[in-house]
């Protein structure tokens, strides 16, 4: 029994039952398949998160974002500037207690380089209802190439706990034709 010492003293020399062997082989091969899938997706899939990131001081990041906002704001909405940056350009989104700043307006089927960083604590960039979720750190600037493929109005929810106003932290991204 499993609660007493093995009855066969030299248990490590005993043969392995056939079902066990078959299952081990299946499970092992499945492990290799799953491993290969991740590599395969880097070639064939379109959703691979970039690893581009830089260390940055919050003020420096805010500065870059402000430059973009000054240049490309097209209107105001509920106290937020709505920024429409040129296609293919660098786009900045500030995470801070408790806002995603500014509102972005992007064009459908065009790529942008989205930069994310936090001014204070960690936040969670959760683009809904697309359901893209990445972590945003203070002191790190993450850059990813993003290509919206559907037009509409999208919410940016914060999904990392960031204090008492966490559940009020909602931003917006418009995708237009």
């Amino acid at each position: 029994m499993a609660i007493s010492p093995p009855t066969e003293r030299i248990w490590w020399k005993e043969p392995i039952a056939r079902v066990e062997l078959i299952w081990i082989v299946i499970a092992f091969v499945w492990g290799l398949v799953m491993f290969s899938m991740m590599i395969y997706w880097h070639g064939a899939g379109e959703q691979n998160l970039s690893s581009e990131a830089y260390k940055i001081k919050p003020q420096a990041f805010a500065q870059k974002a402000q430059t973009m906002i000054d240049q490309y704001t097209v209107r105001q909405e509920g106290g937020f500037p709505v920024v429409r940056p040129p296609v293919g350009s660098d786009v900045y989104l500030i995470a801070r207690l408790w806002q995603w700043w500014p509102i972005l307006e992007l064009e459908k089927d065009q790529s942008y380089r989205l930069h994310l960083s936090s001014m204070d604590w960690q936040h969670g960039f959760s683009l809904q209802p697309v359901n893209i979720n990445v972590q945003v750190h203070p002191g790190y600037e993450m850059v990813m190439k993003l290509k919206p493929n559907q037009s509409g109005e999208y919410g940016v929810v914060c999904n990392e706990f960031c204090g008492i106003g966490h559940h009020t932290m909602v931003g917006r991204i418009y995708v237009v034709e």
């Binding site: 007493s4 248990w11 043969p15 499970a27 991740m38 960690q122 750190h137 559940h167």
Partner: protein, 564 residues
Amino acid sequence: MTKPAQFRSCPTTGLRVERSAENLIKANAVAAVVFLAVGGFFGLLVALTRWPAVHFLPADLFYLALTAHGFDVLLVWIIFFEMAVLYFASAVLLSSRLAGPRWAWTGFALMLSGAVITNVAVLRGQSTVMFTSYVPMMAHPTFYLGIILFAVGALIGCCVFFGTLVVAKQEKTYEGSIPLVTFGAMTAAIIAVFTIASGAIILIPTLLWSMGLVTYIDPLLYKTIWWAMGHSSQQINVSAHVSVWYAIAAMVFGAKPISEKVSRMAFLMYILFLQLASAHHLLVEPGFSPEWKIFNTSYAMYLAVLGSMVHGLTVPGSIEAAQRRRGYTKGLFEWLRKAPWGNPAFSGMFMSLVFFGFLGGISGVVMGTEQINLIMHNTLYVPGHFHATVVTGTTLAFMAITYILIPLIFRRELRMKALAKWQPYVFGIGAAGISLFMMGAGTLGVARRHWDITFADAQLPFDYPSAAYLMMGLNGMFAVLAAIGGLMFVVIVVSSVFFGKRLAIDEKPSYPEVPPTARAVGHYGSAESIHIPGTAVLVGIFFIAFVLYYFVNWKYLSEVWPLS
């Protein structure tokens, strides 16, 4: 100087049980159950708040309760119980005395005071940082201090366990190799040492930082090391509850592992492929390279997963073989139909096995896939997944073995047997429900650790799809069911332990039935003749579910905005 160890002989198993080991098992198990009750209560409050129609707590108390819930159940309940399991698997199963009972008591005292200190820090409202306490959000220094004390206490417990293995070997209290369950417990203890070391590396500087003695802690570095602790501690839970599965299978059925070699190798996998870097918690953090993520989530071949998949065959397989030997040989599943479903030790253990595999295991591997994590990270899918692993898996298994420990170690007759019969079902189904519905809500994008999914106070309005509200309502209802199951457990345990009829020194408990006469099944060399078709069908179903669900999620991923 130390008194000579005092032993009694267990009338059921014939094992020699030492007094101090017995007392330590009792103390740790009782402390565990107390914190389960406290933490479970917070869990209910949290779930009621996340039920949109109820929305029970105000925001500040919600986040406070959530912090307390995570800490009390994930760390305190589980680790106290694991200490009881370690002492049981070493001193009791090896008929040995415990090495250094004084040390063990010191460890216990440290753990208890640490748990209390951190709870006070949380309840005073100064440390609402979630149990992960990601920097730069700062808690009160006593929050970290309590966790550190708790961890040191647990480390001492592990040392006592290793010491006991040495004592038992020197004093020749057993012959041959240690039992499989002890071996499994040993893997848990080895992983625990690694876990606690990682915890110390990160929490001690964090404590100093909260006291103003260190100026900066890098948030990414914190997270990487924190999860070296956080992830490995989950591997401790798995090793411990798999050991418990084997122990219950042996005690209820006299089941013998199909092959010692395979089962032990599977445990060893947990140590060897611990995912040192805990990469799957870092898949959407800035800056980690894909090569690093792919290698470290899988170690190229998912060998720790392989370990669990092997146990998923060998545990039910050994039960099937034992049952067939007893004459339940009709068809594929007579062995399972005629299993003692009214015995809470068995029903709890078997549900733990099924839910852990189907709900927790599959979702964990899928979520830990490099790219797929992107559509799940920090959504409710994550708590959905780990309630399947640590609640329906670990917690249910620990509840199940408690029904055996009460007569064996506490020497009390179990009370409220009718209630006990239902308890695992109520709790198991409730907990499986919250796992499923949180995963469902997460698939729809709902954030975890979030007070208000209607975003009533948000500066910009936003709405989740209406199906999300349905999921959260169902989650609330099953949470109530789980809470009732948890309460049943606490009531049964407390009343049996304190008011149950004392068993005479040589009296065998009559319930739950643990037939000591159950014949050990098979002998080695009979490997060719092992016949477990029912289990083979079960793992076949599991495998198909796994493959389908895995690829469905790649399909989901392929539908989100292209990014690189």
